[in-house]
């Protein structure tokens, strides 16, 4: 019987496949700690969600440890290790001095050709930035880039919006802030981002001046970044905008830059010194004497952030816990586990908004390891692309020609350039008739480039690889989120062995070219399955 016939005969036998193993809709586990030693499947599950997948040897190192041990190790130290590589931004030739510099003249007012060259320079450096990010993400042994990447999607800043561009250098600086703050106090992160140069430019904060308020950032600070919608009045938005007046950006060499180019500075003349009434708290008026950067930053901006957290602690903790939950556990908004999220939010609030505590409590919970939630998450383009490159064990030379960020863009995730200020909508929006074909194309191309040597390495990394049945089981648990039923296993084995009996596996293993060809065929077959899109 041909493989296809075998498959069809079973596929048609029942309208719906039975679920491969005992999982149900009901999630039993709550916020309590999962204390059982981790199995290999637990470790793979943990890495798929908290990181971008993992190689089999790295996964095996953690089997038998507790969730707390592994998660603590993966979260890493508060201060992140330095990036592995330099972004290597292309420099700009200053026409006045002939020097190579990191900034340009102002394209507004420049002639068309110069303006075009400046925009092209931004485009080039934007692509360098995102290529750098994908490389760091691929090689990160911890979760630094993964978590910083999550915050990029939360505190959104678009590279290109309307007819404007955020400068890549400022996006890079903002990203370093996310790295630094990823596990710190969420309140500090909120303050850092509020005065972040890229954010000030993106949401119009730099235009927000006394007498000419611009509410854009003030609204999003509440609606999208801290409390979520429904916890503030329109009056709060207007008052917050007044508090945030006076902060300026330094984008070009013809602009004032008291703190240096790409650094935020404070223009006291543009700050609204009147008293503000925000969420029922008065921020008193100030005199010209104390209208300084230091004082306004601490007594107004920091105070504004503090008031939000003081006046709406439940809203902030629930909003952030809910967002983290949907990103890392299950994205279906209609089915968020309200009890669990409420418990997680409480832990977050009780820790005074400590992000490490939030992530730790989530990833060591019984809830997170509950079978009902496994394989239920749709891979983001980053998870899909980086995860596959990691699983295929490509080395630096092999990944060098792959434009990972270009691929994620074709899958609707242009890194550092989300569709709008709400970030990527996520969940099922990742898979459409537009993007799904690109995902399939990517997997096919990557698997096709797998060399014989790399394929043999991959085979030998699977436990019990010499036993063909166990090898297939293990490669399936490595590539797919859940076990598959007997029918699919038989189909995959027959794909690997090209329909020949089991004992031929031995011979294949002795001929790397043949084994590699078989492995590529098997991987491509696995990549066709709908659950290859899940994690």
């Amino acid at each position: 019987m041909k493989r296809r016939e075998l498959f069809n005969s079973i596929a048609q036998s029942s309208r719906r496949q039975p679920t491969p193993f005992e999982i149900k809709l009901q999630v039993d586990g709550g916020i309590e700690e999962h204390t059982d030693p981790l199995t290999l499947d637990d470790v793979l599950h943990l890495y798929r969600r908290l990181s971008y997948s993992v190689s089999m040897p790295d996964a095996q190192k953690h089997v038998g440890k507790t969730a707390r041990q592994v998660v603590t190790e993966l979260l890493g130290p508060k201060d992140p290790p330095a990036p592995l590589r330099d972004v290597n931004f292309v420099k700009w030739r200053d026409p006045a001095t002939g020097q190579m510099v990191e900034y340009t003249e102002n394209p507004e007012g420049a002639d068309l050709q110069a303006a075009f060259a400046i925009r092209s320079w931004w485009g080039t450096n934007y692509r360098r930035l995102r290529a750098w990010h994908t490389f760091e993400a691929l090689r990160d042994p911890l979760t630094v880039e993964r978590l910083a990447g999550f915050w990029v999607g939360h505190w959104t800043t678009e590279f290109s919006f309307d007819d404007q561009y955020s400068q890549p250098h400022t996006l890079y600086n903002q990203y370093l802030t996310f790295r630094k703050d990823r596990l710190g106090n969420f309140r500090d992160m909120a303050l850092d981002v509020t005065l972040d140069h890229a954010m000030l430019f993106y949401l119009g904060g730099w235009l927000n001046e006394v007498g000419r308020p611009n509410e854009n950032f003030a609204r999003e600070l509440l609606e999208l970044f801290t409390t979520g919608i429904g916890w503030y009045t329109e009056g709060d938005v207007q008052q917050a905008a007044r508090v945030l007046t006076g902060w300026k950006v330094a984008r070009f060499n013809d602009q004032p830059a008291p703190k240096g180019i790409y650094n935020t500075w404070f223009d006291a003349r543009k700050h609204d010194t009147g008293a503000k009434e925000f969420m029922g708290v008065t921020i008193p008026a100030r005199t010209p004497d104390n209208n300084t950067e230091f004082q306004v930053r601490n007594e107004e901006v920091r105070e504004l952030v503090n008031i939000i957290f003081r006046a709406r602690p439940d809203a902030v903790s629930r909003f952030i816990a809910g967002k983290v939950y949907m990103y890392f556990v299950y994205s279906s908004a209609g089915e968020m586990d309200r009890q669990f999220v409420a418990d997680l939010a409480k832990a977050f609030k009780d820790s005074d908004f400590d992000l490490r505590e939030l992530f730790l409590r989530l990833f060591i919970s019984k809830h997170f390891f509950d079978p009902a939630l496994r394989g239920a998450q749709i891979k983001t383009p980053m998870e899909y692309v980086i995860g596959l490159l990691k699983q295929l064990r490509f080395d630096d030379t092999e990944v060098a020609p792959i434009d990972s960020a270009g691929w994620t863009e074709m899958m609707d995730q242009a890194l550092f350039d989300p569709p709008n200020v709400a970030g990527w909508p996520g969940y099922r929006s990742w898979i459409s008739t537009n993007t799904y074909p690109r995902r399939r194309e990517f997997a096919r191309k990557m698997i096709d480039t797998l060399t014989d040597a790399r394929a043999m390495q991959l085979i030998k990394e699977m436990p019990d690889y010499e036993d063909v049945t166990k090898f297939v089981q293990n490669i399936v648990r490595y590539m797919l989120p859940l076990e598959v039923n007997e029918t699919r296993l038989a189909y995959y084995k027959s794909t690997l062995l090209e329909g020949q009996p089991d004992y031929t596996w031995d011979e294949k293993l002795k001929q790397p070219a043949s084994a590699a060809r078989s492995l590529r065929a098997l991987l491509k077959t696995i990549a066709v399955a709908p659950d290859f899109q899940l994690c």
Binding site: A11, T19, A372, A376, I431, S432, T433, N434
Partner: protein, 520 residues
Amino acid sequence: MKRRSFLATTAAAAVGTQVLGGVPLKAFTPMNMPVHMQPDDDRCLIVVQLFGGNDGLNTIIPVEDPQYYSIRPTIAVPKEKAISVLSRVHMHPALAPKDSYGFPQMFEDGRLAIVQGIGYENPNLSHFRSTDIWLSGFNSSDPEVRLLDGWLGRYWSNHLPGFPEVLPPDPIAVQIGGSLSMLLQSPKGDVGIALTDPQKFFELGQGLSPDMTPMSEETRYGREFNFVRTVAEQCDRYSSVVKNSFDKGKNVATYADGNFVKQMQLVARLISGGLKSKIFLVYMGGFDTHVMQQDEYQNGLHPYLLGQLASGIGSFMQDALAQGFADRVVGMTVSEFGRRPYENGSRGTDHGAASVQFVFGNGVRAGVYGQSPDLTNFDGNGDVRYQWDYRRVYADVLENWFGGTMQETEDVLQDRVLPLGVLQRTTSVDDAYEGRFGVDVRIAPNPATSQASIEWYQPVNSVTTVEVYANDGRHVKTLLTDRLAPGPQRVEVADLTSGAYLCCVMINGVRSVAPLSIVR
């Protein structure tokens, strides 16, 4: 609905206003009023989403209102720059791009309806919540209420027998670009596909069917598995359908450059090639004009976007007219809100509330619906008050364009909403034969202080419903549902608070409406 009752509907809005509902235009003089005889399944709808919140006040310009010029000192469009159409409507000059079939001409030709003051109660100023409110068709500002699917998705998923196990031969909806909008989602799954380039879609989409039966829906994993599986199957199935239409179709009009214009061009080509989709969704972002929306010469981001909009729709209409499918296509714009009437300090405008909506096509009853915004009477946030509930145009689409029933509208919107009358109802020989036409509804006294009588002549023996709606189109009360014999009929209405109402008599599925004022 007949012209007579349509005029009655809009008469309520016309009281004391200068820009009247139902400006009489060539297209709906009785002589050349087209009677639609095409089968129901030839009709399609184009939804043009303007994301960011389009500035209605700088789209249709209230040139006669000095208040407009005082609240917008730097970004107002001067009267002499606005384009005056039939001396009644003044449009932003960007709506008439050079060498194109611009909005002014479309309006004069009776192919454009302008709905003033479209919005909803308790406006939400978040882009995302308000977009969800618009696309879902549910007006709920309560963040605990999750809005998960769209009014068109719900309508069509209910109409497709066996959906989603059985997919129709042509995709019900085609979205150009992006990931599939909430508008096209339903509790049963997506009712459409997203594509950018038919050729690429064909090349990549072939053979993507996963050859796997669905999983049990009793696990989360199974549900997501099935979702991906259906998308894979849609890729495989529809990639060749779309390609066939694309190859057979053509464009005979000239299209300018620009992403949005090209989207409209693609839609025209697919329709021309025979694609039987009911909905096309096109999208333009950038309307969130907080900063530098236009300079003193009416150049800038907002004019650019309006120019794209008019150019894309204009070329599309020319194409549709030349190729003979203009009668079976209508389009509507949706944007989550308008802008704040007062300009901000950055030569821009912040988030606002009620705004302007355009409905275009041969099937529209051209005219201006509602009055120019009242710039002296804002809501609590300082925003324009709405005149029409946004779902009134949806009810038009469902009942008068797709041929749905009032009950279906109610099922989809979970509320009873009166169509605004922007679209012409399909009329057939059978309608006249079976007595499906409007009647003359009289109300006396009007204005009334407490009680009034609604009277009409019942033409046939039929189930008749008499209802009262608020002036914005939302249902207030039902006075009668009964089978009535032919002859003069009369129903009393009482217990209404002061305000403007619409009394609706529905006989045999056809509504006739008359306005009523209560002054207590």
